[in-house]
């Protein structure tokens, strides 16, 4: 069997030869109805019968994995797709560096690996749940289609993780796979595992911020798991990364188009000062300071996803060869880190101080720094866009110590520029830094659906190019089909 091509002969499209792997196939087929129930209960609300112009992978080689066609979402061919195997691949870091990459789970790391897979897996359905109401207020059919593409791919990512659990972790894995369908984002009794995935995604600006900032955490995590010495995990994550890029695209261009529209409206109305919030809002667009506040919120929630700055778990994962650094193989060092140090921002005597920590335990911090750098570049592209319109305003990422729930700075209040302030000052200033209820209410007031092909809500600009090179008037979702 050609493993580049996807086998559609089983119910579950796959390139892992499921047809001859009866036990796993049976387990997955047993899990499938529960998944569909979950999708129907918790997937995009109100559009399950609509025809959506989606891309589906028909092969994992570059030419075949983006086939576009109209699909009803419950009929989407979720499948198990792994990047092609490289027979010569090695473990590239940690104490097993240089060994042949593992095709089976090493017994001593079974629990650790299962934990990694479950945490990653839990985020996938969570975001579908968080975003399930957004279809009803989509600013265009184009955006609606992009939302649904993100949703079905998150669904596929769940499949990817569930395959690993079912295939390599026996009965424990099957139980974990069922648990992934049982937990619910924001549920008081049975929440999702990570904080940011229990927050609501109430409006489209939040969705774009989420896909830019929170899905970018996903990208960083997938990238470091793609380095794993456990080859099936690596291959799974490599293919997922290609899909994850679409989510980054939705976030970056989504926020970019909001900025574009706001700036254009300001210029057209002769509003020069971005801080004249009411004047800008009167134009029916989202003012730039509110966009900054939204950014402050989503960026900091996403920073929390990286965990504590100093973490023995992270060191253990690395040492064991299970989870590497961002682009591990492109880093020029010994890939063991036994004696190396890494600078970490900590709270020392009430002051934000840079402290050298052993590089192994500071791996979360390092990944978070890579993440921040990646975010900052995107923010800079937004600034270029604002500059090009002639509006004088700059977006800035807030300081690491600002608005944190996890890690070194969770017990202090800091301003976006990184000055520690007391509770009273914080209470006073909070509304300047983070979206207030009235900001939320204003944004919500703009969230009126637009479903005519080629038309966009007033608060967002049209995209520069269509999906799959489609022209502007293309009907990306046939809602009543």
């Amino acid at each position: 069997m050609n493993l580049m091509n996807v086998d559609y002969s089983t119910k579950i499209p796959n390139n892992v030869n499921l047809a001859e792997d009866r036990q796993v196939l049976k387990a997955l087929e047993g899990w499938h109805p529960g998944y569909l129930d979950w999708w129907n209960d918790m997937g995009p609300e109100g559009f399950q019968e609509s025809l959506v112009y989606l891309r589906t992978a028909v092969s994992v080689d570059p030419k075949g994995w983006a086939k576009f066609d109209y699909v009803r979402m419950p009929d989407y061919r979720w499948g198990v797709l792994l990047a092609p195997q490289d027979e010569a691949r090695l473990v590239n870091f940690g104490q097993h560096k240089g060994e042949k990459a593992w095709q089976e789970v090493p017994g001593e790391y079974r629990a650790m690996l299962r934990r990694l897979v479950v945490i990653q897996g839990d985020t996938e359905p969570a975001s579908v749940e968080q975003q399930r109401h957004l279809g009803k207020t989509a600013p265009s059919l184009y955006d609606m289609r992009n939302l649904f593409q993100v949703n079905v791919e998150e669904g596929r990512h769940l499949w990817a993780m569930v395959y690993l659990l079912q295939k390599y972790f026996g009965r424990d894995g099957r139980e974990e796979a069922d648990e992934l369908l049982r937990r619910r984002s924001g549920d008081a009794d049975s929440p999702r595992m990570l904080g940011a995935f229990n927050e609501a995604t109430p409006d489209w600006l939040s969705f774009f911020m989420f896909t830019f900032f929170t899905d970018r955490d996903g990208k960083m995590q997938l990238e470091s798991l793609a380095q794993s010495g456990f080859d099936p995990l690596s291959r799974t994550c490599r293919f997922m990364l290609t899909e994850e890029a679409h989510h980054m695209f939705v976030g970056e261009t989504g926020v970019g188009r909001v900025l574009q529209r706001t700036c254009e409206a300001m210029k057209a109305a002769g509003v020069e000062d971005a801080s004249e919030i009411e004047k800008v809002r009167a134009l029916g667009v989202i003012d730039l300071p509110t966009i900054q506040k939204k950014m402050n919120l989503h960026y900091t929630l996403s920073l929390d996803l990286f965990g504590s700055e100093v973490s023995t778990n992270a060191a253990n994962f690395y040492n064991a060869g299970l989870k590497g650094r961002f682009q591990e193989t492109k880093i020029d060092d010994d890939h063991r880190l036994t004696d190396a140090v890494y600078p970490v921002l900590k709270l020392v005597d009430g002051k934000i101080t840079r402290v050298d920590e052993p590089a192994l335990t500071a791996l979360n911090m390092r990944l978070r720094d890579d993440y921040t750098e990646d975010c900052a570049k995107g923010v800079e592209r937004w600034n270029k866009l604002i500059e090009k319109t002639g509006v004088k305003y700059r977006l800035e990422l807030p300081h690491t110590a600002f608005h944190r729930q996890i890690g070194e700075f969770k017990n202090v209040h800091a301003t976006p520029s990184g000055i520690i302030i007391n509770d009273a000052e914080w209470a006073n200033k909070r509304g300047d830094y983070l979206p207030s209820e009235s900001d939320g209410a204003f944004i919500e007031s703009l969230m009126q659906p637009v479903s005519e092909p080629g038309k966009y809500a007033n608060w967002i600009a049209a995209p520069k190019v269509g999906i799959d090179n489609k022209p502007g008037e293309f009907e990306y979702v046939k809602i009543a089909a």
């Binding site: 990364l241 890029a245 695209f249 190019v465």
Partner: protein
Amino acid sequence: MNAPTPELLKQHVIDPEICIRCNTCEETCPVDAVTHDGNNYVVDASICNHCMDCISPCPTGSIDNWRVVATPYSLEEQFSWNELPAQQELEAADSGAIEALEQEIESLLEEARKGLGGKPVAPHSASKPTVNLYNRNKPAIATVTGNFRLTHGDADSDVRHIILDFGDLPFPVLEGQSIGIVPPGTDAAGKPHLVRLYSVASSRDGEKPNAGNLALTVKREVGGVCSNYLCDLPRGAKVEVTGPFGATFLYPNDPAANIIMICTGTGSAPFRAFTERRRRAMPDAPGRLLLFFGARRPEELPYFGPLQKVPEKLLGKYFCYSRVSGQPRVYVQDRIRSEAATVAALLQDPNTHVYVCGLKGMESGVNEAFADVCRGASIDWAALRVTMREAGRYHVETY
């Protein structure tokens, strides 16, 4: 001596305003042609082999950009971009001409030129064509100002002469170029229809001099999406047009050029343009124009009436009918053979250009007829054909 025309290159570039720097293209590229710095992702023109592996995985569409250049943009130049530079005004080179900038159109033309048996080369004296001024995303809008049936009322085939007016919109074409028509709507699978190519049937300055319009010769095909759309268009209707396309199958401006034109059906379109150009620009040119034109019956021969009025001195006409009752079937290749003396004399003249346009089926027959004619005159047609093609004097466009 003329300085050699520099080879033009279609350079792959990435739009920095749309790219999100996700690294997918760099990860995908099998030859490591994609690289990046802190600012941009770029393609190394000296490595990229146009395999297109990076195109479909790109989530943004930023990867699908091309610039025709004489000197490729360096990596450093591309790293410094904040936006894509505009396409430079370039004249298509004589060799390795860029026929179209869109993959979809390029492959259509490539298919049409297959019968050539080698790389198409424009006639040396052809004017420099403009290519791909308009594309699917940015089509020109034309207005239908005429739609006439060319074939007789009782003929089986419905061939039409359709005039498209561009108003003030610049749409420069040369005789022999094609334009793309974008039929509105989508196919059964919901995909927008493919662009169809039609040869321009009028000369470069329009149906009437400086009219800002052009004409097409369109045959209604049973079930044909685009041909039925065009044939049914009323006056005043708006049409989305892309192009112009084609940079090799072009009219030679040299007054000494002899032009042998061989066609069937709507393949006559470019030859109507050629003839009209010669008539307007240099009616007394020494070069000869010969037209071998095949149809089932006179009633089904497009432009039968108007062609009768063109003087023999301007255009030598050889009509060939394959379905006239009571008469033997005559195909274009038969007429070429029966005119062997004239044809052979012309083929030995280095000023002679041959153009074949029509259905794919006619290719081999015409080729064999030329071979026979040449054999009779002790000319090696296989070798001559290559010589003529390389000199831009042998052209095929079949579909």
